[in-house]
Symmetry: C2
Subunit: 193 residues, 2 copies
DNA sequence: TGTACATCAGTGAACGCGCGTTCACTGATGTAC
DNA sequence: TGTACATCAGTGAACGCGCGTTCACTGATGTAC
């Protein structure tokens, strides 16, 4: 059947949004096209009217995740007084909520290792998205030059992503809470120089 | 045919060693039983004489990787004067060699995200291995109590694992080198308190 | 205004493929008598 | 000492399954005449 002209775009956006969640939840290999389309009450055959390949979807899902996470962090930071922003960023990133919900969280923590294993072409695209995400966070970082602030953002966020991953792998709830709490102090101190 | 009594143990060890490399290289989902056994010039059917499941192999491969990495870091640290050990650890971990060879490197950086997605039973076992790896590194960390040193090791190594993952995802060689170099300074400073 | 045709998002069966796992079998050696 | 049998690491075909991808088809709407 024929649909309204904005219909296709809306479906495409729904696919990207759902994929963004599912990839972060289950990993690049763990989330499949069929299950994704079933969630949206569509059939898997239609997928290729919207995307050339699963890799292309992965890239767009990663972009959406980086946008979402960037907006969340920027929103929290902007709402705080300037001298509290770094601490708010660290506290938000290493919160129990973020730890418990990888599907709504940082793509570097959830998908970083997957990106290292992508074919060259996709890895290049994903890498650019990751660094754009760091660049967006640069304005909240200390540093004399923009380059120094971007570098600082890349270091702080990658470091926090590692600690968040260890926390997510830690099944004991008390140990996980302790690690996150210690991580907030550790990374806040590291971020300040 | 019948084999010498030590033969089975030797084959098992070869499987674990190869799996440890392959999992770190390709990820938990990317490395399969058939390819692994083919590398060892065995057939995949024989695998189940040695292991109950792929998950069990993953646990043992992770243990082997943690042992290997722990021994490498401890060896480098022990060879350095006491007050240089932290810096040697950070320089070794964030070296270009470690970045270029995930298959011989830190299991937290290569497999951390995979561990968060394991079924509960396996995740518990893997989590214990990760924390034992941190505990082994604790003796080189500053801190008043053993708990504080273990926590510091967990924070430093998880943080460095995140930065290493970002470096591995960064396809531009110059940017990767810069990130690793800046990372060595950043994490060395963070580790010292 | 009515009719014929083009469009194209979505359908659902089918493709080949590799996965983890199972199983009947092989055959050299060790053990029992 | 010779013979019959048990052992068991490794073989290779087969299991069902889900994967990414392709494709002939559907059918409501828009367009051309």
């Amino acid at each position: 059947m024929r649909y309204a002209p904005e219909h296709k775009e809306a479906t495409r956006a729904r696919i990207v949004a759902a994929a963004s969640r599912r990839f972060r939840q289950a990993g690049g290999a763990g989330a499949g096209i069929a299950g994704l389309m079933r969630e949206l009450r569509l059939t898997h055959g239609g997928f290729y009217r919207h995307f050339e390949s699963k890799d292309q979807l992965f890239e767009e899902a990663l972009a959406a995740a980086a946008d979402e996470m960037g907006a969340l962090i920027a929103g929290r930071a902007e709402a705080a007084p300037p001298d509290a922003r770094l601490r708010v960023i660290v506290d938000t990133y290493l919160s129990e909520a973020h730890c418990a919900h990888p599907e709504a969280g940082c793509p570097l923590a959830a998908l970083g290792a997957d990106i290292t294993r992508l074919p060259r072409r996709s890895r290049d695209a994903c890498q650019r998205l990751l660094w754009a995400y760091a660049a967006r966070m640069a304005s909240y970082m200390p540093g004399a030059t923009l380059d120094a602030r971007v570098e600082r953002a890349a270091l702080l966020f990658s470091a926090m992503a590692g600690t968040l991953t260890l926390a997510r792998a830690t099944s004991d709830a008390a140990a996980r809470r302790r690690l996150l709490e210690a991580g907030r102090a550790f990374h806040a101190a590291a971020a300040e120089v």
